[in-house]
Symmetry: C2
C-alpha cells in the first residue's frame, strides 16, 4: 500500500532495524532470565518461553527509533525497550489464560499456560511485571534518577488501570455489552488497551532525550495514530487473516460477537481508516529529517504487516 509520504526510501531500513533490535532484546533477556538452580527454575523457563525469540518487537523498536532522534545511548534504549517488552509479554501471558481470552497459541508457539500450567503462567506474568520496574530503577538503564522516576511513573500509568489493564477490562465488558459498544467506545478501549503502552515507547525516547513536554506534541500525535492503526489492522487480521501466518487463532472476535473496528465500520472502511491514520502519523514527523525515516517505515509496517 502506497501512502502519501512514501517518497522516501525508508522501507529499506526496516528489516535490518527489526533484526538488530530483536537480537539485542533476545540477548538481553537471555542474561536477565538466566535459570536459577532452585525451585524457581520452572518460573524462569516459563518467562524465557514467553519473552525470548518471538514477536515483532514493535515496542522496543519504537523506543530505539525515538532514542536515535535525540542521540540517546543505544544500550539505554534497549534496556528501556526490554522493560516495556516485559510489560507487553506479561499482559499476553495473562490475557491468553483460560479465564481471559483462552488462547492456545501465541507467536507460533503454545501459550505459557499450555506449555507449563496456569499457576506458572500467573507467576511468570507477575514476575515479568516486577522486572519491568526493576529494570527502570537500575542505574545502568539511566544514571539520572529524575529521568528514571519519570520513566517509571509513565510506564506504571500506561500499563495500570488508567491504561492497558483498564483497557483489557473494557474489552471484557465489550464482549457482553454488544450493541451498546459504538465506535467511540471501541476507540477509547483501544487507546487504553494498546495505545497507552505504544504511546509510552515514544514518550520514553523523548524523556531520555530530555525533550520538554511541549516539544513532544508531534511524537504523541504519531504514537496516537499508529496505535489506533495497529489495532484496526489487528481486527482486520482477526477477521481475514490466516492463523498459521498470524501465529495465533483468528476469527475469534466475530465468533464471540464482539464489537471491533471491522464489525462497526466494515473491512473496506476500516482499511481506509488505518491507511489515513498512518499517513497522518507520518505527517506528524514533519519537523524531523531523514533521522526519522525509521519511524516512518515503522508506521507503514503497522499498516502492511500480515501478523
Amino acid at each position: 500500500m502506497v501512502t502519501e509520504a512514501a517518497n522516501d526510501r525508508s522501507a529499506d531500513i526496516l528489516p535490518a532495524a527489526i533484526a538488530a533490535v530483536s537480537a539485542e532484546i533476545d540477548a538481553f533477556f537471555d542474561t536477565l532470565l538466566a535459570v536459577p538452580d532452585d525451585g524457581r527454575a520452572r518460573l524462569y523457563q516459563a518467562m524465557r518461553h514467553a519473552a525470548i525469540g518471538g514477536g515483532k518487537r514493535l515496542r522496543p523498536l519504537l523506543v530505539s527509533a525515538t532514542c536515535a532522534l535525540f542521540n540517546v545511548d543505544r544500550e539505554r534504549a534497549i534496556r528501556v525497550g526490554a522493560a516495556i517488552e516485559c510489560i507487553h509479554v506479561y499482559s499476553l501471558i495473562h490475557d491468553d489464560m483460560p479465564c481471559m481470552d483462552d488462547d492456545d497459541m501465541r507467536r507460533g508457539k503454545p501459550t505459557v499456560h499450555k506449555a507449563y500450567d496456569e499457576a506458572t503462567a500467573v507467576l511468570a506474568g507477575d514476575s515479568l511485571h516486577a522486572l519491568a520496574f526493576e529494570l527502570l530503577a537500575d542505574p545502568l538503564t539511566h544514571p539520572d534518577p529524575f529521568v528514571q522516576v519519570e520513566l517509571i511513573a509513565e510506564l506504571a500509568r500506561a500499563s495500570g488501570p488508567a491504561g492497558m489493564a483498564g483497557g483489557q477490562m473494557m474489552d471484557l465488558a465489550a464482549e457482553t455489552a454488544g450493541a451498546a459498544f459504538d465506535l467511540a467506545a471501541v476507540t477509547r478501549l483501544q487507546q487504553l488497551k494498546t495505545g497507552a503502552l505504544i504511546g509510552f515507547c515514544l514518550e520514553a525516547g523523548a524523556i531520555m532525550g530530555r525533550v520538554r513536554p511541549e516539544g513532544r506534541t508531534g511524537l504523541r500525535g504519531y504514537a496516537h495514530d499508529i496505535g489506533l492503526a495497529f489495532q484496526i489492522v489487528d481486527d482486520l487480521l482477526d477477521a481475514e487473516g490466516d492463523a498459521a501466518a498470524v501465529g495465533k487463532a483468528v476469527g475469534k472476535d466475530a465468533g464471540a460477537g464482539k464489537a471491533t473496528f471491522v464489525s462497526l465500520m466494515g473491512a473496506p472502511r476500516a482499511r481506509a481508516q488505518a491507511a489515513m491514520l498512518v499517513d497522518q502519523a507520518i505527517r506528524h514527523l514533519h519537523l524531523f529529517g531523514a533521522e526519522a525515516d525509521l519511524l516512518r517505515a515503522i508506521a507503514r509496517f503497522v499498516l502492511d504487516r500480515d501478523r
Copy 2:
C-alpha cells in the same frame, strides 16, 4: 506469651497504632480507587473489595513504625505503606485463584474471583501491581528522586522472581516435592515468599530516614526474624486454628501433604522457635530506646495473633 524483653509497656500502644494505620490506609485507598464511570467500574470495584477494610495492615504498620524512628513525615509513610499493601493485596488476589491456592474466603469475605470472576481477579491484581509503582514514582510520596528510585528498586526486587513471586513458585514446587523439602528449603522459600516484602517495609523506613546501609543491620535482623516467626505462626494457625477466627480456610497444608514448619518440626518445637525468633528480633532493636516500642509490640503481636 511473655518474652524476655517484655519488661516495657509497649503492648498497650499496639491497638491504637493498628486502628490509626488501618483507618489511614482505608481512607487512602478510598480516594485512590474512586470508581470511574466507564467500562472499568467493575475493575475498580474488585480492587476496592480486596484492598479496603480488611487485614491486619501489618506491612503499612511496619513502615510507619520504622519511619517514626527517623522522624519521617507520616503522610509519606502511609503512601509507601499503601504501595506495599497494593503488592500484598495483588499477591493475595492471584494466590487465591483456582489455579493457585483455590481459596473461597479471605479476610472473612469471598475472594475476588468468587465475588467477581477470574478474569476480573487477574486484572485487579495486575492493576494493583502497577499502582504500587505509580505511587512510589509520585513526587507526593517523596520529593527526592534518589529516594524514590531506591524504594522502587527494592520493592521490585522484593516482589519479583527474586522475592515474593519466586517464593510462590517454590511453594507450588513444595506441594509436589514431598520429602525432598527439608527445613532449610522451607526456610528459604518463606524468606522469599513473605520475608522479602516484610524486610522491605523496614528497609523503606530506613531509606526514607536516610539511614546508610551499614546502619540498617539491626532493622534487617529484626525484619528477618519477625518474617520467619510470622510464617511459622501462619503454619501453626493453619494446623490448629479455627477458620472463622482466622478468616480463611485452615488445615489446607496437611490436606495437601505440604512440607511446612509444623510438619517438619512438630507444633511444640515450631512454637518455641517462633518465640525464640521474636525475642531475637526485639534484641536487634537494642540501639533504639522507647521510640522503638511499637516495633517491639509488633514483634510480640506476630507471635500472639490468632489470625
